[in-house]
């Protein structure tokens, strides 16, 4: 699949929601743990060799599941293949919890559901649609009816 790699590289240089050096192990059988600088920017998780400016790779965090694996480790897998896991090792249970919470909130889909939720709450409490001021109240992607159970 073609993609705009230069722009993705530029994105990896943007301010991150979370960034830390973690142990990372790829999904292939027999892969070993490597130290990587892991950086969360919008809905992408970039991972760098610790002394390099360009990322080794990126994971788009849509339709993914974040699972705790050990007290201080978690994994990311994707809907189409839940057994194929990217493993991450943190230095503490606290850091692990912080990362898992951040990653679960990092998808566009989660952000969209948050928007619908807040919009609905504000509408219930004030009788007004807060999206009107942005001119986006009619957009199909923000309608309550568009939410799947």
């Amino acid at each position: 699949m073609r993609y705009n790699e230069k722009e993705l590289q530029a994105l990896s240089r943007q301010p991150a929601e979370m960034a830390a050096e973690l142990g990372m192990r790829g999904p292939k059988k027999g892969s070993v743990v490597k130290r990587r600088l892991v950086k969360l920017v919008v809905n992408f998780l970039f991972y760098f060799r610790t002394d390099e400016a360009e990322p080794v790779g990126a994971l788009l965090l849509e339709h993914c599941r974040v699972t705790q694996e050990e007290p201080s480790g978690f994994s990311i897998s994707f809907l189409e293949d839940p057994e194929r896991k990217y493993h991450f090792e943190c230095c503490s249970e606290e850091q692990c919890q912080e990362w898992m919470a951040a990653l679960r909130r990092a998808s566009y889909e989660f952000m969209r559901r948050s928007l619908i939720f807040y919009r609905n709450e504000i509408q219930k409490m004030t009788g007004k649609d807060p999206l009107e001021q942005f001119g986006i109240s009619e957009e199909a992607r923000f309608q309550l009816s568009g939410l799947k159970a």
């Binding site: 699949m1 073609r2 993609y3 705009n4 790699e5 230069k6 722009e7 993705l8 590289q9 530029a10 994105l11 943007q14 301010p15 929601e17 919008v42 809905n43 360009e54 990322p55 080794v56 790779g57 990126a58 994971l59 788009l60 849509e62 339709h63 993914c64 994707f78 809907l79 189409e80 293949d81 919470a101 679960r104 909130r105 566009y108 889909e109 989660f110 952000m111 969209r112 559901r113 948050s114 928007l115 939720f117 807040y118 919009r119 709450e121 504000i122 409490m125 004030t126 007004k128 807060p130 999206l131 001021q133 942005f134 001119g135 986006i136 957009e139 199909a140 992607r141 568009g146 799947k148």
Partner: protein, 217 residues
């Protein structure tokens, strides 16, 4: 750079309704011809397929840090998705009607994660203000939010107007209780993230029970 392309392809072709979809002509390169492709916008990803029935995208344009503008081109109803920076690519696209072009320009200029995050933070702020103050908060449009008519994703690391740098505000003080239902303290002032987590746990537990009860033949 490695990318989880298989997951991307699944995301592109999943069942959920797309944010926008339709045929567009895509210019191959600066001096190349236009190719008619089936485009699907999902979140901040603009996928394009050989045709509407294809199972896998030919490619994807990641829509962060771009502007969307009309262009002068030989092709009618043309517009461009332009990225900043040296040697950055500009994607020239053309719709099949004025209405389609306008729909795409609007959708693409508001498609970035950055834009959505700004709106969500503003709504969080408003909700906290409404809960604390009792009345509707005066809508405050953060500086970085693009105007209605020519929305464009701003490549900005500028902190938006919202008080907290991360999603999830401090729980605001509880308003006077109006409901007769049993007090459920934390849930009232919880952020969406917390509610999502709590309900998710409950759903997982219920699902586990259901699975076990159906395991016996």
């Amino acid at each position: 750079m490695k990318l989880n392309e298989r997951s991307l392809a699944f995301y592109a072709t999943c069942d959920a309704p797309a944010d926008n979809a339709g045929f567009l002509y895509k210019k191959g390169g600066r001096h190349a011809a236009y190719h008619r492709r089936w485009f699907v916008l999902r979140g901040n990803m603009l996928f394009y397929f050989e045709d509407a029935a294809s199972r896998e995208p030919v490619g994807v344009i990641i829509l962060e840090g771009c502007t969307v503008e009309l262009v002068e081109a030989a092709e009618e109803f043309a517009f461009a998705v332009r990225f900043a920076g040296a040697r950055a690519r500009t994607y020239v696209l053309a719709a099949e009607s004025q209405a389609a072009m306008e729909g795409w320009v609007k959708a693409l200029s508001r498609a970035s994660f950055d834009y959505l995050r700004l709106v969500v933070r503003e709504l969080e702020r408003q909700l906290a203000a409404v809960r604390a103050g009792g009345g509707p908060a005066p809508p405050r449009r953060p500086r970085a939010l693009p105007p209605k008519e020519n929305g464009c994703a701003v490549w900005s690391s500028e902190t938006p107007a919202a008080p907290s740098p991360r999603p999830g505000p401090e729980p605001p003080p509880l308003p006077p209780r109006r409901r007769a239902s049993a007090p459920n303290g934390p849930l009232d002032s919880a952020s969406f993230a917390q509610l999502h987590e709590w309900y998710g746990q409950e759903v997982r537990a219920l699902r586990g029970q259901w699975l076990r009860s159906h395991a016996q033949p």
